[in-house]
């Protein structure tokens, strides 16, 4: 299936676009590369903005509405920049029966932030994950990439508040 | 043997269903030859009596007053008819449900009012969180959808009930 129009230039001269462009080119600049390209863009920029979605769609020859449909279907993709720090709470079964619900309630009480939200000061984003596979550490959270096991709500809140 | 006792009740609705009932015209004479109307917004009885055979309920259950009334009606009625779309689906009164009571009242009584805006607190009954169909609150025996149900449908249903037949699905539709 040939691409009907010319490849668009990247939205800016930010070097990170190169990574996205290369990823797409390696996969033939064709529609099936859409999800991989979105992964590349999110990894490079932390989230997917309209520029990124348009660029990826135009390069791969995917209609914009379909790009948007895909980007919003998968919960891994985020269209908004996240806070300075992220706290991912695992809500897998093992964590659930070991108190993940209490952790989320504790975060909401102390920091007024619910899953998929960022605190008002833009400091901390709370996300949930469908099982990190760290069931032996239940309940588990990931704070800025570091997995913490057997989490105590008070300690977690204290750590986040100190950030 | 005394005649069957019929009542009609008006909850949160536009009264259109009652208008449609009046549209039975001369057939009303036939109905009330065979039954007594013991309670209705169309007649002047103060309290809902005991021992009612058939009650047509128009409107959704929207306020604490509606809730109180429908429970009383259910207690004192043998066959309860959900009369028209508001009673059956909550219809137009239900359009407020996604909005929520707080924002709804704010919009109506505060935001759009220039002179002495205030929330009504006396006399008017308190709104329930949602306007619900009658059958979500009490058991309903017969459903008569329609907005409003046509006079023909109402007649067929009453005729069935008064003749001791079980009213079937009466071929009405929501909205019509």
């Amino acid at each position: 299936m040939p691409v009907l129009y010319h490849k668009p230039p990247p939205p800016s001269d930010d070097k990170r676009w190169k990574i996205v462009e290369t990823r797409m080119r390696r996969l033939g600049d064709r529609p099936p590369a859409l999800i991989e390209a979105l992964h590349a863009a999110q990894e490079a920029f932390g989230y997917l903005d309209t520029d990124a979605l348009n660029y990826v769609g135009d390069t791969l020859g995917v209609p914009h509405s379909r790009v948007y449909g895909v980007a919003t279907f998968y919960s891994f993709f985020t269209l908004k920049p996240s806070g300075e720090h992220t706290c991912v709470v695992c809500t897998g079964t093992a964590c659930y029966i070991n108190g993940a619900k209490d952790i989320l309630a504790g975060l909401d009480r102390a920091l007024h932030v619910k899953p998929k939200e960022t605190t008002a000061d833009g400091k901390i984003s709370v996300l949930t994950a469908r099982c990190l596979g760290a069931c032996s550490l239940a309940p588990a959270v990931i704070v800025d990439g570091d997995v913490k096991g057997k989490v105590n709500v008070g300690d977690l809140v204290a750590q986040l508040e100190a950030m | 043997m005394s005649k069957p006792r019929i009542a009609t009740v008006w909850l949160d609705g536009c009264s259109g269903c009652h208008m449609s009932l009046i549209d039975l015209d001369e057939r009303l004479l036939d109905i009330f030859e065979r039954a007594d109307l013991v309670y209705s917004p169309l007649v002047d009885f103060k309290d809902y009596p005991e021992d009612v055979d058939v009650c047509l309920v128009e409107g959704a259950v929207s306020s604490e007053d509606d809730l109180h009334k429908i429970k009383l009606v259910r207690e004192r009625t043998r066959t309860l008819v959900s009369f028209g779309d508001c009673a059956v689906t909550s219809n137009v009164p239900g359009m407020r449900n996604p909005i929520g009571v707080g924002p709804l009242l704010d919009r109506a009584y505060i935001e759009n009012v220039t002179l002495n805006p205030q929330l009504p607190s006396e006399i008017v009954p308190k709104l329930l969180p949602t306007a619900t169909p009658v059958h979500r609150v009490v058991k309903v025996d017969v459903f008569l959808p329609g907005c409003p149900p046509s006079a023909d449908l109402i007649y067929t249903m009453l005729d069935d009930l008064l003749s001791g037949r079980v009213p079937g699905v009466v071929g009405s539709r929501f909205g019509r």
């Binding site: 999800i35 897998g92 069931c135 | -």
Partner: protein, 551 residues
């Protein structure tokens, strides 16, 4: 979730640096570097052990990173290979002690018993786990890796390979247990010049981490299994569809693909034959439904992961409408061993129509949280009590949940039931991918059913009406029950609706969504009634609302 755990970043940086010492060693320390131990700073332990051994002048000691040692609850784990001595919960200041133990290892030492957790297991898919370095192709080959593929390519026809798999009785380890040999034969015989092999590593069941552990611990085995499958079904291209939530597994898998390509185990003309096959990784992006094979295909094709009605089955019309073989990670991981040891050997393990072994992830209120592989037919009691070490704090066992959101809860009365595809279905559950979540008296079964329904409604793709609307309706009723606001009529409606959703939904997600409700109703109806009639939560989990609050 775009954050990558620090452990995975470390692997990515390190990529392929060899930490395996050359030559035979007198003593070897295996350090578990699978995700669970890695999140407990296991890699730091590896580095410290190496330094410490070097400082102590122990030149004949090897410190080796290995995959999952299984006992995840006790990580970080270090095992002395020669004696079998296991160090758990290793902290930096334990390192000197381990070095001391390494110093004392004598050539005459034999492995001592490690207790029932290890002794009662039978390792097939996980035979290399905790033994080989997951980042070293040489180490895999040194442990018998690629022997099977070499034999297959040089001595067998594709029909013979399929026969072996058929005779072994291997069934799909992703959950449904479809006979693997039959699937391979269907794809092999399907018309089409281009065929694909896809490895389903979109392990989505909460509480399941078998596939992750296999990929983290022994990625070459999965690639070898896929390559054998490709030969058997005449495919030339393959994909591993892996969850993006498993960065360590993805990093090791990508590394393994690169190494295998370089060594000629993937690519054109594998092992100097005319057979060609290559593999690419495709990342999932957080959609549970993509574990369903038609949704998975849609996702590999770069689209929204929505399933489509079957037939046509992917075996006839799959990826880009070509015949496509889709098997799960564990299924592929069994293949090399079956071909090396023979179909009869494999068929000799197990019970009835459930042959071989099954990997289970033990989690929940169980002492030995971790990864185990047991022969089919082992009783649930042996798994939970002998291997799993029983319930935390010695509390009473209430139920074990298997099969993820499409599975069910098995009560104590069935503890002596042998584990097999058939027996699990008989008691109203489902094998699923192998997550076993143990619950004690602190879990409310209505709340558990609500948890799974919440999961299903959140993961419903939204394509078909019964699942999109129905899972939320079921959740709403369960929510009312847990608040003490439901009636017996609501309970009747719950059951009616659940049956309808089971029969009318488009894919396995919707069809299976009511299962947790069915099984908890079957065994724990009294808990439902307690919430509805007596308005109490026996486990004390749910918050019952005051009676006067109106619906």
């Amino acid at each position: 979730m775009s954050e990558m755990p620090a452990a995975a970043r470390a692997v990515r940086r390190r990529a392929t640096t060899e930490e395996v010492h050359e030559g035979p060693a007198r003593a070897t320390a295996y350090v578990c570097e699978a995700a669970s131990c890695m999140s407990a700073q296991a890699h730091d332990i590896t580095l410290r052990l190496g330094e410490s051994a070097a400082r102590a002048g122990l030149s004949d000691v090897m410190v080796k990173r290995v995959g999952c040692l299984g006992l995840c609850a006790a990580g970080p784990l270090v095992e002395i290979a020669e004696t079998g001595r296991l160090f758990d919960h290793v902290r930096p200041d334990d390192v000197e002690g381990i070095v001391g133990a390494l110093r004392k290892v004598k050539p005459t030492d034999t492995r001592a018993s490690q207790g029932p957790f290890f002794e009662k297991q039978v390792r097939v898919a996980t035979e290399n786990m905790g033994r080989v370095d997951p980042e070293s192709l040489d180490d895999y080959v040194a442990h018998g890796g690629y022997e099977a593929l070499r034999t297959v390519l040089s001595e067998m026809t594709s029909a013979e390979v399929r026969d072996q798999i058929t005779q072994s009785g291997l069934r799909g380890r992703g959950g449904a247990g479809f006979p693997t040999g039959l699937k391979w034969t269907t794809v092999a015989k399907a018309q089409g010049s281009q065929k694909y092999v896809i490895c389903n590593a979109d392990e989505g069941d909460p509480g399941a981490f078998m596939d992750r552990s296999v990929l983290e611990s022994d990625p070459y085995r999965v690639l070898e299994g896929m390559t054998i499958a490709a030969f058997a079904v005449h495919a030339t291209e393959g994909y591993v569809y892996c969850r993006a939530e498993y960065p360590l597994a993805v990093a090791r898998l990508r590394n393994a693909i690169r190494m295998a390509q370089r060594a000629g185990w993937l690519g054109t003309g594998i092992a100097d034959t005319s057979f060609s096959f290559d593999v690419q990784v495709r990342l999932g992006a957080g959609a549970f439904v993509c574990g369903e094979e038609t949704a998975l295909i849609a996702s590999v094709e770069g689209r929204r992961g929505t399933p489509r009605p079957r037939p046509p089955y992917p075996a006839m019309q799959g990826l880009w409408d070509c015949p496509t073989l889709i098997n799960n990670v564990e299924t592929f991981a069994n293949v090399p061993t079956i071909l090396r040891k023979g179909a009869e050997w494999y068929a000799g393990i197990g019970l009835g129509k459930s042959k071989g072994t099954k990997v289970f992830a033990l989690a929940g209120r169980i002492v030995n949280t971790g990864l185990v592989e047991v022969p089919m037919g082992m009783t649930l009691r042996e798994v939970v009590y002998d291997i799993g070490g029983g319930i935390i704090d010695g509390r009473p066992f209430k139920a074990v949940q298997t099969g993820g959101p499409s599975g069910g809860c098995i009560p104590a009365e069935h503890l002596d039931m042998p584990l097999s595809y058939e027996s699990l279905i008989e008691v109203g559950s489902f094998m699923g991918s192998g997550g076993l979540i143990v619950m004690d008296d602190t879990s409310c079964m209505v709340d558990v059913a609500k948890y799974f329904q919440d999961f299903c409604r959140d993961e419903s793709c939204g394509k078909c009406v019964p699942c999109r609307v129905g899972t939320t309706q079921l959740w709403m009723i369960l929510d009312q029950i847990t608040r003490g606001r439901a009636t017996l009529d609501d309970l009747a409606q719950l059951e009616r609706l659940a049956r309808m959703i089971q029969r009318m939904s488009l894919c396995g997600l919707g069809q299976g969504a009511p299962n947790p409700i069915f099984s908890t109703l079957r065994y724990f109806r009294d808990e439902y009634l307690a919430h509805i009639v007596d308005r109490v939560c026996p486990a004390g989990v749910c918050t019952i609302e005051p009676a006067e609050v109106m619906a």
